[in-house]
């Protein structure tokens, strides 16, 4: 979990600063941590509320961004069969990209389920508390920092740092390019729906070529 924490703390600080800068109560911005508990959806929710987006658009966008959690949920479910309901409800609440990766990696190489559960829960709780603390520190300090620092740029700059190294993958490149263009074109869409539309278009564009790829039988015909 260590390497994940190193990457998580700056992101949490950035979200905290954006919560402090946004036109919503800072505590509400911080609450995205324990309630939504997924960085990209939190950034979107805070940014959209700050921009005056319609509530349905905010909820829809956060839900679309978090759709991947269904896949994580499906992937980790086999390891949690036979566990009590309370365990699955708590474990599920803590399920997010780092805890999922660390948890599944441990489950897949250690047949002792009890140790795997302890590893998952321990790592996930450390991540959760670090995340909330980082957002809190960012929110507390962000409001006191002067405007000339340009902290409103912190989130887009941070995200650029996450996106650019992944652009070597063609699918990611298509998703990023399409989402960026559609987001720009749809910036004025009502209820700030442009963000949700852009994400859907980006994912669709990335997946589209896979359907037009020749099938095995088509390739053998050539």
């Amino acid at each position: 979990m260590g390497p994940w924490l190193v990457g998580t703390i700056p992101f949490g600080l950035v979200i905290g600063v954006s919560a402090a800068e946004a036109n919503i109560p800072t505590f509400v911005g911080w609450l995205t941590g324990p309630l939504i508990y997924a960085g990209s959806a939190q950034v979107a929710a805070i940014g959209m509320l700050d921009g005056g987006a319609a509530p349905t658009a905010v909820i829809l966008t956060a839900t679309i961004i978090n759709l991947r959690l269904v896949i994580y949920s499906a992937a980790i479910a086999p390891y949690w069969r036979g566990t009590p309901l309370w365990w699955r409800l708590i474990g599920g609440y803590l399920l997010v990209d780092p805890s999922f990766t660390v948890g599944v990696e441990r489950y897949s190489r250690d047949s002792d389920r009890e140790r795997g559960h302890a590893h998952y829960l321990g790592g996930a709780l450390v991540l959760w508390s670090t995340w909330l603390l980082a957002i809190g520190v960012g929110a507390a300090t962000g409001a006191a920092l002067p405007d000339w620092l340009g902290l409103h740029l912190l989130v887009p700059l941070y995200l650029v740092g996450v996106i650019v190294p992944s652009l070597g993958q063609p699918g990611v490149r298509r998703a990023v390019a399409t989402a960026a263009v559609v987001a720009a074109a749809g910036f004025s869409l009502p209820m700030h729906l442009g963000l949700a539309v852009a994400i859907a278009a980006g994912v669709g564009a990335a997946l589209l070529p896979a359907t037009s790829r020749p099938t095995a039988s088509e390739r053998s015909d050539r």
């Binding site: 939504i36 994580y72 599920g92 740092g161 989402a179 700030h192 980006g202």
Partner: protein
């Protein structure tokens, strides 16, 4: 609906997504296309967030006022491309913004 309620509703939706398959019967399987899209959603979301954040900053301003923010993002893209380091985006982008803001103000 207040910001509080929106966050609570988004939080409930997120939680339901998390526990959806954990509590589903074993025979339920996700469509392959949905599984394929898992790794792409975050990148598409990040790209859209960068553009909408930037647009929110520059729309309605003059070209001179918009330049520092736009150039800062471009500098960040170049810095990360050249170094391969994620943190280079903030380390190069923010100073570019400060310098350009100072120049355009005077």
């Amino acid at each position: 609906m207040s910001a509080w309620m929106v966050i609570v509703a988004a939080g409930i939706a997120s939680y339901l997504l998390r526990v959806s398959m954990i509590s589903a019967p074993d025979q339920i399987r996700l469509p392959v296309r949905l599984e394929d899209s898992a790794g792409l959603v975050a990148h598409a979301a990040f790209a859209a967030l960068v553009v909408t954040s930037l647009a929110g900053t520059v729309v309605g301003t003059t070209a001179v006022q918009a330049t520092p923010s736009v150039v800062a993002v471009v500098v960040a893209v170049v810095a990360v491309s050249l170094t391969g380091r994620s943190y280079a985006a903030v380390l190069a982008g923010l100073p570019a913004f400060w310098v350009l803001t100072a120049i355009t103000i005077h």
